[in-house]
């Protein structure tokens, strides 16, 4: 798995107009890489046919 670099994460933030300090950038990069890594094994699941809806409650909401 390829880690995102701080430069790449900084560019993503800039694209959204989000100001990020250098101190924040290092930690945000670690956090984002950790989330990507944690969700990586889910790619092995048969997800193509699963509809990504929350499936709210067991009865009509209203």
């Amino acid at each position: 798995m390829i880690d995102l670099t701080t430069d790449q994460v900084g560019a993503l933030a800039a694209a959204l107009g989000l100001p990020v300090t250098l101190e924040d950038l290092a930690e945000v990069t670690h956090r984002l890489n950790a989330l990507i890594e944690a969700l990586e094994p889910l790619a092995e699941l048969p997800l193509e046919t699963v509809e990504p809806v929350p499936g709210l409650g067991g009865a009509p909401a209203s």
Partner: protein, 476 residues
């Protein structure tokens, strides 16, 4: 304060309401008692952000007059309560635990507050929380909340003050909000009962949002009976929350003491005996399951293979929603956030859509796994937290590597987020103490809108144990 006063403060909300009704305790007396305790004990606990003594005493005088006139009394008449500072209160500042809203004074009560007040409850004040109900706050703007069982330890979050105030008897009961464990985690760490109702069972109107498909107000209390009592008051359709449910609200007290004989309980293997679960926690939870067996429940271990991923799935989805809520302030007022909150929201803002889609689809599969299990079992059982309350210092400081993130954020959330991701009701009930004196908590998860079954099993267990009767040191 006399021992009698302390005993009165530690009574349940329902017991206090009964004493008020019988004119054995006056609303003014009990309100003064809690205000005195807050003044004396809260400086070292930081459960409260705002206390409203004048308004509380005015409400108590009105409640007392109503009793003396023999007027019809609501179920919480004269009962002092407090709420997480995430809920709007008309004329009382509502900060959501953030400097950004430090001067925010709503003009309208949240629906839950309106209902608690209409039932006769007396609002004492607003309770501390992790900033904007996200976890990971590094420096609390309104004081570091502390666990009453050990002041150096985390009280849990995000409804931190709601757990502390109930455990230390700084109110009779409290209201929290549970997006991904924010009622159950502080209940677990502080040794009290915390109920997350079915999503949509309780109106979200007037509660600062985090994730629209998971935000759920819920009570924290010293007994399961009180949690049922409060749920009865706040549950039900609200036109101001279009996603609130019209499913009828049953009488929770009516079935609370029914037997649990024959109830089928599935023990979630990955969370109860998995490698992440602390040995003392596992031992206490297994013993609680045995207790339910002795009461006639039928237990069986089962596997839900996706639950270890629940924490990461939750953070990809709920944090993504939160990033949307906060986008404007993140751009214009980043320095007004706590460092931990800002970094978490910045991260969430950058999650690739393809990854969020993967998480959303995995959520649907996880939900299906849980509903399949609940087709065969009436309840699912597991620990509320994988470990007892950690030291506050353990969650402090800059993250210097991605492997730290899993330990701080994903693992513990995988115990409380499965119910949140599936929209299911779940309760945290004290089930023991570690050798070092920190509370341990049992979690029971039920089917959609079957809070009555969750409460019945929790009540049956609670009556067989003595954990709820213990008091934190230094709270007399």
């Amino acid at each position: 304060m006399s021992a009698g006063g302390t005993d009165l403060a530690f009574l349940g909300a329902r017991q206090i309401a009964a004493l008020v009704r019988e004119r054995k305790v006056s609303p003014t007396e009990i309100t003064r008692l809690y205000l005195e305790r807050i003044e004396r004990l809260d400086p070292r606990l930081s459960a409260y952000i705002t206390v409203i003594p004048e308004a509380a005493l005015e409400a108590a005088h009105r409640a007392e007059a109503a009793v003396m006139r023999g007027e019809p009394l609501g179920p919480l008449h004269g009962v002092p309560y407090a709420v997480k500072d995430q809920f709007d209160t008309a004329g009382v500042r509502t900060t959501s635990g953030s400097r950004i809203l430090k001067d925010h004074v709503p003009t309208e009560d949240a629906t839950t507050i309106s209902r608690l007040n209409a039932a006769g409850g007396i609002l004492l004040g607003k309770l501390n929380l992790t900033e904007f109900a996200l976890g990971g706050t590094q420096h609390f703007p309104f004081g570091q909340p502390r666990n009453p069982w050990n002041l150096d330890h985390d009280p849990g979050g995000s409804s931190s003050g709601s757990g502390i105030a109930v455990a230390a008897a700084l109110c009779a009961a409290s209201l929290g909000e549970d997006t991904g464990g924010s009622v159950r985690s502080p209940a677990s760490f502080c040794g009290v009962v915390g109920l997350r109702p079915t999503w949509s069972r309780v109106s979200r109107h007037g509660s600062f949002p985090l994730s629209w498909s998971m935000d759920t107000p819920g009570p924290l209390a010293r007994t399961v009976e009180d949690a049922a009592w409060l749920l009865q008051v706040i549950a039900g359709y609200d036109a101001k929350d279009p996603l609130s449910s019209r499913v009828p609200v049953p009488d929770y007290a009516r079935t609370l003491a029914d037997p649990v004989h024959g109830l089928r309980v599935g023990i979630i293997r990955e969370l109860t005996s998995g490698p992440e679960t602390d040995a003392e926690v596992r031992e206490a939870v297994v013993e609680a399951a045995r207790c339910l067996e002795r009461l006639g429940a039928v237990t069986e271990e089962l596997s839900l293979p996706l639950v270890p991923f629940a924490g990461a799935i939750f953070m990809a989805l709920a944090d993504g929603d939160g990033a949307g809520v906060h986008h404007r302030w993140l751009r214009t007022r980043p320095g007004d956030y706590d460092q931990g909150t800002r970094r978490r929201l910045l991260t969430a803002s950058l999650i690739p859509v393809s990854l969020q889609q993967r998480a959303a689809r995995a959520r649907a599969l996880l939900r299906a796994q849980m509903l399949n299990a609940l087709a065969r079992h009436d309840l699912l059982l597991c620990p509320t937290a994988h470990q007892p309350a950690p030291p506050i210092a353990a969650a402090r400081g800059t993250i210097t590597g991605r492997h730290e993130v899993a330990g701080r954020f994903f693992t513990r959330r995988s115990y409380v987020t499965p119910a949140a991701l599936a929209g299911l009701p779940a309760i945290a009930v004290p089930c023991g103490f570690t050798r070092s004196g920190l509370p341990i908590s049992l979690q029971l998860i039920g089917r959609h809108f079957e809070e009555a079954t969750v409460l019945r099993a929790a009540h049956a267990y609670e009556r067989q144990s003595e954990w709820s009767r213990r008091r934190p040191p230094g709270t007399n």
